[in-house]
Symmetry: D2
Subunit: 267 residues, 4 copies
C-alpha cells in the first residue's frame, strides 16, 4: 500500500496549495491512503469544520494535528464528531480529551491505524510518548499497518521515536518544524522514517507566516502579530511511504517538496 | 568560488568519516575553501588540538563551532592560538571571550569572511544575533564573500536569519540539529541558504550518540551517559555553495549526505 | 530616604487593593518615594493610560514593568509620553524601543535613579542584564540613589544580580513570580535585596488569575483563558527600603504582605 | 502532630548546618516527625549512603528528593534499599524506577504518608503530577496524614497544586528554588501550604553554590564548575506544620530561616 502524507497546511494558501498540487501528485503516486497534517489550517492556528472539509475535498482521507490543534474553540466540536477522520495528538493528559488521537480505517480490506503523537522535548509536558506507545501498540490488531505522525520539536526525540518503534509500526513521519528534512529511509527494512515532512503553504514566508513579523519579533523580542503569508507563492511538502501489505513492513519512503524553485516532481 | 561545508563532526567516527569521504568529495567538487563544523569532535563534546589537526589534515581550511565549543578546557588554548583557523560562535557576551567568531582569509586573492553565529531561540541567551550582524557586517570589506555558519535550534530563527541577511552575505548555512534539511536554495539570487547541513559521524546512532542511551533517557527522564556511537557505520553531511566572485552573490547551493543507504554522490 | 515598592499589580482588583491599602501603608511608612510594578494592571496583561493614572492617584510616583509591558498596543503611547513616570525593562534589544527603562527623579534634592531590568534565564533572550548594568551604571551620577526592579524568573539569576550589584546600587528587588520571598536583607551593609516582592491583587486566585483556569491548564495542557480573579479578596505585597542619603547605602529592607489571613502590618 | 520540614540541604555545609541547628530547633518545636530534602547533599548533586546517614543522625526521619536525586550512581543502591526512609520524586515515568516516591510511617499509632512529587513546568516532562495525585490518593488509607514535598520551579504550578490538593492532603510544601517564600498559610482550614521552604547550606553562596561561579556563568554564558560554597556561613530553612490528628487537617504552618542575619528563632 502506498500512503501519501502531506506536512503542516498553513492558512488558506496552504489549502490552496493542497487543492492545486494534491490532485496532480495523486495521479503520479496513486496512493491508497492520503493523510494531511492540518494543525495550522485556519490562520495558522488550529482547524475548523470548513477547513477540514476543504482539505478532505482536496484529497485527504485523514487529517492529523499537533500542538496547535486546540487553538480555536470551534475545533472541539469537530474533534468530538466521531464520523470525522480528524486526529489530535493522542497523548494529551486526562480521560476526557475531546476527539481521538488514533483512527482505524479499512483500505481495500487492509486495516490501517493512523496515530498522531506529540513529543515532550522543548514542548508541553504531555504524557510520555514512549510509554504511551508501549501501552497502546499491544492493544492494536497485529496484522495491520500502523502509521505514526510524530509531532515534535527536537531531532533527538524524533529519531529516538523512529528507532524505538522500528519493527513495531510501519512508518514514523515527523511534523511541526515546517522544514522538510533529508533523512528519509527505512530502519532495518521495517519502519519508514522521516524527521520532518515540512510545510504546505507560503514559500515566501517563514514557516508559512509573514516574514516581516517573524523577523521583527527576533529583532525586538516584543510581541508581534503572526499572520499567515496569504499572498506568498505556493509550496507543498509531502512524502510517500510504500508498505508491504503482507508483512506491514515499509519498502521505501520518499520525500518531496514542490515550490517555484523546485518543480522536479511535476516533470 | 566553490565552498564546501561539512556539518557537525561527532567523535572519532566523525573524524574517520571525514578522512574517508572528504578527499573523494573534494575530487568531485573541487572547492576552493572547505569549512567543517567541529563542535562535537571529541567524544561529542567540544574539540581539542589533536582533533583540530586531524580535521585539518582531512581537508578542512576552517573549523567552526557551536554551543559545545566550550565543553573542554583544552579547547580554550586552541581558540586563543590566533594562527589556528578555528571559530567559536561570535556572539558570546562580554569583551574577553577566548578565540574568535570570525575569520578573514584569502582564497586566490579573493577575500572570504567566515562567521560563526549562534541562535538564541530555545538556546542560551547570547547577544542577539540579528543586532550583532547589524553591527558587524558594516565593518567588513564590501568586496568580499561572507559565509555564515548559523548554529541554532529552531527553524524559525534560522530562516529568519537567512532572509534577514539576504543581499548582505553570500551564504547562511545552519548547524546544530544534526539532521540535514531539504530546503537548500538561493534567496533572491543573492544568498544561499540551508536550514541545517546535518551530522558527520555514526549513521546508526542518534545524532551521533549511542542510540540506547538516548532512548533510555527519554524513557526514564533520568540522567544517562551520552557516548559517541563509535562503532556505527559512517555518514558525512555536507553542502556545496557556488558563489560568483564578482558579485559575491550565490549561484547555487546543493546539499548531500553519504551513508550506507545513500551512496548517490559517489556514483 | 525611605522607598516603598509594591509588587506586580494584577487587574482591577490589584488597583483596588492599592487604593485600599496604599494610603494606610504610606501613613505608617512615610516613604519619600513609592514605586509600583504595573505590568499586569489591565486584565493581567500590560497597562494603559487609565490604569497608570489610577495607580498614580493611589500613590505611586513611578510605575515599572516587565515581560508583560508590551501586551497591549495602547501601552506604547503611554511609554512614549516622556512626561509619564512609567518604565518598561531597560534591556529590550535594539535602538528604537518605545519608552524608557530608567528614570531619574529628584526627591527633596536627592537624585534617585529607578532602573527596570529583565532577566534572561528561562525568559526571552533580551540583552544580557549583567553587561547592560556594566555599561549603564558608570554613566550615572555617582552621588545618587540607584533602585533596581529586577524582573526575572529564577532565584539564581536574581541573587546573582543582587550580589553583582552590591556596592554599585542601593537596592535590587525582584518581581515577576508573584510570590513574595522571605530573604530580605542588606548585602555587605550596602545593597538591599529581596528575591521577589510578590503580587498585589486577588488573594484567592493563582498569581492573580482565576484559579480554576490555571488548574485546568495544568490538568489538560490545552489552552485556557487566563482571566484576572476580579472577585477575590484583596492582597498587597510590598517592601520598604531605608537608604542613607549620604552614602547611598541601604540601612534596611523589610517585606510585608497584607491579606485576609495576614493583617499584622495594619495592627 | 507537628511535622518539621527542612529545605534542600546543599553539600557538607548543609549537613553541618543541619547538625548545628536541627537539635536546637527540635527542642523548641518538639516535632513528632522530621523530613529533610536531601537532593543536593553531596557536592550539590544527589545523595549517597554516607550523607543519608549523617542527615538521619542529625535528626531526620525521612529524606526526600528532587530533580537532582539521580545525579550520582551510588544513590541508586540507597533508593533500592527498602529499609531506608528515602524518597525520590514519585512521578518519574516507567515501571522500574529505583526506590520509592512515597513512604508510609507510623508516628505514635498515627499513619503518615510522605509523598515526594515533581512539577513539570519549566522542568523535565515527568508524568503529570495532577493526574498522578488523582490516581494515587484514592489508594491511600483515608484516616492518615498526607504530607507532600512538591519539588517544582514555577510559582503557578506550586500554588495550583496546593489548591488542587486542598482537602485531600494535610500539607503541600514546595522545594527546589532554594529561596524561602513568605506565603505560608492554610487553605480552607484544611491544607497547609508554602511555595518554597528554601535552602540549607551556605548563606554566602548563590543557592548554596560558590557565588563567583554562578555570576561568571551569567556573564559569559559558558560552562563553569558549580561547586558548593563549603566555606560560607551557615543557614537552615524550615517550616513547621501543625496537623489535627483527628481530622488530618492542618491547624497552622510557620516558616523560618536561621542565618547570621536572622537569629530570631533561636532567641
Ligand atoms: Fe505546524
Ligand atoms: Fe506544531
Ligand atoms: Fe553539534
Ligand atoms: Fe550544537
Ligand atoms: Fe507580573
Ligand atoms: Fe512578569
Ligand atoms: Fe535543590
Ligand atoms: Fe531541585
Amino acid at each position: 500500500m502506498k500512503i501519501l502524507f502531506v506536512g503542516d497546511v498553513v492558512g488558506n494558501i496552504g489549502i490552496k496549495s493542497l487543492e492545486t498540487y494534491l490532485p496532480q501528485i495523486k495521479q503520479v503516486v496513486k496512493p491508497q491512503l492520503t493523510i494531511v497534517n492540518g494543525e495550522n489550517a485556519v490562520n495558522g492556528k488550529g482547524i475548523n469544520l470548513e477547513a477540514y472539509q476543504k482539505i478532505q475535498v482536496a484529497g485527504a482521507d485523514v487529517v492529523s494535528g499537533g500542538n496547535h490543534s486546540w487553538d480555536r474553540k470551534e475545533g472541539i466540536d469537530l474533534y468530538n464528531d466521531s464520523k470525522k477522520n480528524i486526529l489530535r495528538p493522542y497523548n494529551f493528559p486526562g480521560d476526557n480529551v475531546p476527539g481521538k488521537g488514533m483512527i482505524k480505517i479499512n483500505v481495500n480490506q487492509k486495516k490501517v491505524y493512523v496515530i498522531n503523537m506529540q513529543g515532550t522535548a522543548m514542548m508541553a509536558p504531555l504524557d510520555n510518548p514512549f510509554h504511551t506507545f508501549d501501552k497502546l501498540l499491544p492493544t492494536l490488531e497485529k496484522d495491520a499497518i500502523k502509521f505514526v505522525d510524530f509531532h515534535a520539536e527536537t531531532t533527538s526525540e524524533k529519531i529516538a521515536t523512529g528507532m524505538y518503534l522500528t519493527g513495531k509500526v510501519s512508518a514514523v513521519v515527523g511534523t511541526h518544524t515546517h522544514v522538510q528534512t533529508n533523512d528519509a529511509h527505512v530502519f532495518n527494512k521495517e519502519t519508514a522514517y522521516l524527521s520532518d515532512v515540512g510545510m504546505t503553504g507560503s514559500y515566501d514566508g517563514i514557516l508559512g507566516v509573514t516574514k516581516g513579523q517573524i523577523i521583527t519579533r527576533f529583532l525586538t523580542q516584543r510581541p508581534t502579530k503572526h499572520e499567515v503569508d496569504e499572498d506568498g507563492r505556493m509550496q507543498i511538502s509531502f512524502c510517500v511511504v510504500d508498505i508491504n501489505d503482507q508483512t506491514n513492513n515499509a519498502r521505501s519512503i520518499k520525500n518531496y517538496v514542490i515550490n517555484p524553485d523546485n518543480k522536479k516532481f511535476l516533470e
